[in-house]
C-alpha cells in the first residue's frame, strides 16, 4: 500500500515535471509579441454615435479611417494549428511569425510594428468562419494570412468579404476558390488545375509513361490535385491503372501497395500534403518490392521530411512546385538558414507563408496614410502586387481572380539525396 502510494507520487511528479519542461521548451521558440492581450482598439463600434442603436458593427459601415494604436498594425494568421493538419499549420504559423519578427526587427512597416493574431481553425470550416468573424470585427486587423485548407477558405470567404478583409492563402489550391468573385481572395500557391495538368503533361510527354496509378488522401488538397492529374492523363491517352484513396491517418500502406503491385503501373502519383507520409509510403513500397516510379506534388518539397525520412526510397521520385529550388535562390538563403535553425525544419508551406506575409507587409506599408491603415487600401495594394521578388525565386503577382499570374510549374527529381530541377511546364491557357 505504502510503496504503491510512493510510486504514484513519483509518477505524478514525473508527469508534472515533464509537462512543465515540455511547455517550457515550447515556450522558448515563440517569443512573439502575440502574448499581449488583444488590445481593444479605441474604435470598437461603441464609439459610434451612442444614440443610434446598432446591434452589431455593420461591416460596410466600418469607418474607412481606422485609427491604429500608435505604432502597431495587426495581421491575422488562420490555419489548422492543432489536430491532424497541425504539421503544416504550425510550420506556416512559425513562418508568419518569423517574417513579422524580421520586419519588426528592421523597424516595422513605415514605422509601425506588426502584430500577429492567431486563429486556429483545426481545418474545420465552421471554426474557420468563426475565426473570420473574429478577425473581421477586430478592426485593427488589416490583412490575413490563410486559411490554409480549401474547406476553411470556402466557408470563411463570405465572411472575409463582408469585412473587406484581404486574405492570402498559402496552400488552398482548389480552383473554385478564386472563381466565385470574392475580391478579398488571394493565394500564393498553384491552383490544382495548373499543377495537375503540368504534372500529367510531364508524365505523358517527357517520361512517356503508359500507365499511372493515382492515390489521394481524401483531403481537398490531394483529392483535388489527383483529380486534375487524372483528367489530363486521360486526355493525353495514358492508362489509369487505378485510383485509390487512403485516410490521412493511415500508416499501413501494405494492403494498398499489394494492390498496386499487382496492377503493375509505370508510375504512382500521390500528392500527399504531408511529405513524411509520402516518405513512409515509399519506404513500404520498397519493402514490398514495388518498382513503379513515383511522383508527388509541391508538398513533398521538403528534403528533411521527404527525402531523408524515406531512407533512400525517395531516390528517383518526381515532384512539381511553383518555383525553383529554394536552396538555389540567393534571396532565400538567409531565411532557410535562420528558420531551420530556429524550428528545425521547413516545409514548402513555410516558404509560401513567409512570402505571403512579406507581400502583405509590403501592401500595408503602401497603404499607410497619416499613420492609419484602411482595409480597402491594403486590399487593393495586395491585389496590385506585381513582380514581387521574394524568396520563391519567381516574381509574384496576382491576376484579377487573385491567383498567381504565372502558372509555371517546375518539375524536380530526387537525385543523390536532393532535388534536381528537370524542367518547367506551363499548362495554363491550354
Amino acid at each position: 500500500m505504502r510503496t504503491s502510494k510512493r510510486l504514484f507520487l513519483a509518477v505524478s511528479l514525473l508527469l508534472i515535471v515533464s509537462t512543465v519542461i515540455i511547455s517550457g521548451c515550447a515556450g522558448a521558440p515563440a517569443p512573439t509579441p502575440t502574448s499581449a492581450p488583444p488590445a481593444k482598439p479605441a474604435t470598437t463600434p461603441a464609439a459610434t454615435p451612442a444614440g443610434a442603436p446598432q446591434p452589431t458593427k455593420a461591416p460596410a459601415a466600418t469607418p474607412a479611417a481606422q485609427a491604429q494604436p500608435a505604432g502597431t498594425v495587426k495581421i491575422g494568421a488562420a490555419g489548422p494549428f492543432s489536430g491532424q493538419l497541425s504539421k503544416i499549420g504550425q510550420d506556416s504559423l512559425n513562418a508568419v511569425k518569423f517574417a513579422v519578427d524580421e520586419i519588426n526587427a528592421a523597424g516595422g512597416v513605415g514605422g509601425m510594428k506588426i502584430e500577429v493574431v492567431e486563429g486556429d481553425d483545426g481545418a474545420d470550416p465552421a471554426k474557420a468562419a468563426t475565426v473570420a468573424e473574429k478577425f473581421g470585427t477586430d478592426s485593427s486587423i488589416v490583412g490575413v494570412i490563410g486559411p490554409m485548407t480549401s474547406g476553411a477558405v470556402n466557408a470563411s470567404l463570405p465572411v472575409y468579404q463582408k469585412y473587406n478583409l484581404v486574405i492570402i492563402s498559402q496552400s488552398a489550391t482548389n480552383p473554385n476558390l478564386t472563381e466565385q468573385g470574392f475580391k478579398v481572395m488571394h493565394r500564393i500557391c498553384p491552383r490544382d488545375d495548373d499543377q495537375g495538368p503540368a504534372a500529367a503533361m510531364f508524365i505523358a510527354q517527357d517520361l512517356k509513361l503508359k500507365s499511372v496509378y493515382l492515390l489521394d488522401g481524401k483531403d481537398t488538397y490531394s483529392a483535388g490535385l489527383a483529380g486534375e492529374v487524372e483528367k489530363k492523363l486521360k486526355e493525353l491517352g495514358v492508362t489509369i491503372a487505378g485510383h485509390d484513396q487512403y485516410a490521412p491517418e493511415d500508416k499501413d500502406f501494405s494492403t494498398l501497395l499489394t494492390r498496386i503491385k499487382s496492377a503493375k503501373p509505370d508510375m504512382i502519383y500521390m500528392p500527399d500534403p504531408d511529405p513524411s507520409h509520402a516518405a513512409m509510403f515509399l519506404k513500404q513500397a520498397a519493402d514490398l518490392g514495388v518498382k513503379a516510379k513515383f511522383m508527388t506534388g509541391e508538398a513533398g518539397y521538403e528534403k528533411a521530411e521527404f527525402i531523408d525520412k524515406s531512407g533512400g526510397a525517395a531516390e528517383g521520385a518526381y515532384l512539381t512546385n511553383i518555383g525553383p529550388i529554394l536552396t538555389t535562390i540567393p534571396e532565400a538563403k538567409d531565411f532557410i538558414k535562420n528558420f531551420t535553425a530556429k524550428y528545425g525544419g521547413m516545409s514548402v508551406f513555410a516558404g509560401q507563408s513567409y512570402e505571403a506575409t512579406k507581400i502583405l507587409a509590403e501592401a500595408i506599408k503602401k497603404s499607410i496614410k497619416n499613420g492609419k491603415v484602411s482595409r480597402e487600401d491594403v486590399l487593393s495594394a495586395v491585389h496590385n502586387t506585381k513582380d514581387y521578388k521574394g524568396i520563391l525565386g519567381a516574381p509574384i503577382g496576382f491576376n484579377d481572380k487573385g491567383d498567381l499570374v504565372s502558372g509555371t510549374i517546375f518539375v524536380y527529381q530526387v537525385k543523390n539525396g536532393d532535388f534536381t530541377q528537370l524542367k518547367s511546364v506551363s499548362a495554363r491557357g491550354r
Binding site: K261, G289, G311
Partner: protein
C-alpha cells in the same frame, strides 16, 4: 443502403475508384491474396496488442480507456528516444538485438508508468461517479497527451533508423509474397507477449486475483485482494503492451508522430469489441480478424473502403452475436 443507391447513379457519371475496372478482376485480387493475408496478420498482431490494454481495463473497471491510444503513442516516442541515441546515422552503437530489447523494455516501462499515472490521477478519483465522467476524463487525458507531445517535440514525425537494426534484405520471399524482417519481428514479439499475458492471467496468483476483481471487486477485497493494486497492475500491463506496440509500429513504419494514437486506439477499441469486451483471448482474436478483414477487404473491394468494410464486419458480427465473437452471452439475471 445509401451506398448502393448512390453507386448506381455514380457509375453513369464517372468511373468511381470503388468499382473494379474490368481487367482488374477477381483473378488479380486472388493473386494478391497470400500477400494481403500476411499484411493482415501483421496489422492484426498490432491491433491485438493495443486491444489487450482496452480489454483488460474494461474487464476490471468497465470503462473505455480512451487515453490508451496515447499511451501507445508515448511508447513509440520512447522507443525513438532510445534508437536515436543508440544509432548514429545508419550504424548502431552496439548489438542490434540489444538495442531492440532496450527499446522495448524502456518503452514498456515508460508506457506502463504513464498508464498507472493516468489511472491514478484521472480515473481513480472518479470511481463511483456516473459512467460518463471517466469517459470524458479519458478524452481529456487523450487530448492533453497528444498536444503536450506536439508542443514538446514538435509536429514533425520522428524517424526510426530501423534499417540500421533490421536491414531491408532481411526478409523472406516466397513467390509473390514478401515478408519483411520488421514484420517477422512484429509477429514474433506480439505472439510472445500475448503468451506471456495469457500465462500471467491464467496461471499466476495475481492473474487470478485480476480475474476475480474483474468479476466482483468488493468480494475480492474481502479476500484481502487490494482492488487498487489490481487496477494499477491492470493499467501497468495493458500500457506496457501498448508501449511495446508503439515501438513495433515505429520500427515497422519507421516514423512516429503525435497523432498516431488516435487511429490506432480506434482500431484497438474496435478489435476489443469485435472479440468481446473484457475477454483476453477475444481481444487477440478480434485484432487478428480486424487486420485480416482490412487486408482482404482492400484486396477484393477497395482500400478507400477498408474502414467501412471493417466497421460493417463489426456491426454484422455484433448483430449476430451481441457480445462479440468470444464474449459471454449471459442472459441477464432477473
Amino acid at each position: 443502403m445509401l451506398g448502393s443507391a448512390c453507386c448506381i447513379r455514380v457509375v453513369s457519371q464517372q468511373a468511381l475508384p470503388v468499382s473494379l475496372d474490368e481487367e482488374m478482376d477477381l483473378n488479380l485480387a486472388l493473386a494478391q491474396l497470400p500477400q494481403q493475408f500476411v499484411n493482415g496478420i501483421t496489422l492484426g498482431c498490432l491491433y491485438a496488442l493495443i486491444a489487450l490494454g482496452y480489454c483488460m481495463v474494461y474487464g476490471v473497471l468497465e470503462m473505455l480507456n480512451f487515453a490508451h491510444g496515447e499511451v501507445f503513442m508515448v511508447g513509440g516516442y520512447l522507443g525513438w528516444a532510445i534508437i536515436s541515441n543508440l544509432v548514429l546515422g545508419v550504424t548502431p552503437r552496439t548489438n542490434a538485438v540489444l538495442i531492440l530489447v532496450i527499446m522495448l523494455l524502456v518503452a514498456m516501462a515508460g508506457a506502463g508508468a504513464l498508464g498507472v499515472g493516468i489511472e491514478w490521477f484521472a480515473y481513480r478519483p472518479l470511481r463511483g461517479a456516473s459512467r460518463l465522467a471517466p469517459l470524458i476524463s479519458a478524452l481529456g487525458v487523450s487530448i492533453f497527451l497528444q498536444n503536450a507531445v506536439m508542443l514538446g517535440l514538435g509536429t514533425r514525425s520522428k524517424t526510426y533508423q530501423t534499417m540500421a537494426l533490421i536491414p531491408r534484405d532481411m526478409s523472406v520471399s516466397a513467390g509473390d509474397v514478401t515478408i519483411a524482417g520488421t514484420r517477422i519481428l512484429i509477429i514474433v514479439v506480439s505472439i510472445l507477449l500475448m503468451f506471456a499475458l495469457h500465462f500471467f492471467v491464467q496461471r499466476t496468483k495475481w492473474g487470478t486475483a485480476m480475474r476475480a476483481t474483474a468479476q466482483d471487486r468488493e468480494e475480492a477485497s474481502y479476500l484481502g485482494i487490494d482492488a487498487n493494486r489490481v487496477i494499477s497492475l491492470t493499467f501497468l500491463i495493458g500500457s506496457m503492451l501498448a508501449g511495446a506496440a508503439g515501438v513495433l509500429v515505429g520500427l515497422y513504419y519507421t516514423q512516429v508522430d503525435f497523432m498516431m494514437g488516435y487511429s490506432a486506439g480506434l482500431k484497438g477499441f474496435t478489435a476489443t469489441v469485435l472479440g468481446g469486451i473484457g475477454n483476453v483471448q477475444g481481444a487477440m482474436l478480434g485484432g487478428l480478424v480486424l487486420g485480416l478483414v482490412e487486408g482482404l477487404g482492400a484486396a477484393f473491394i477497395s482500400p478507400a473502403y477498408k474502414d467501412i468494410i471493417a466497421f460493417s464486419v463489426l456491426i454484422l458480427v455484433l448483430l449476430v452475436k451481441p457480445s462479440g465473437i468470444l464474449g459471454e452471452n449471459l442472459p441477464e439475471k432477473v
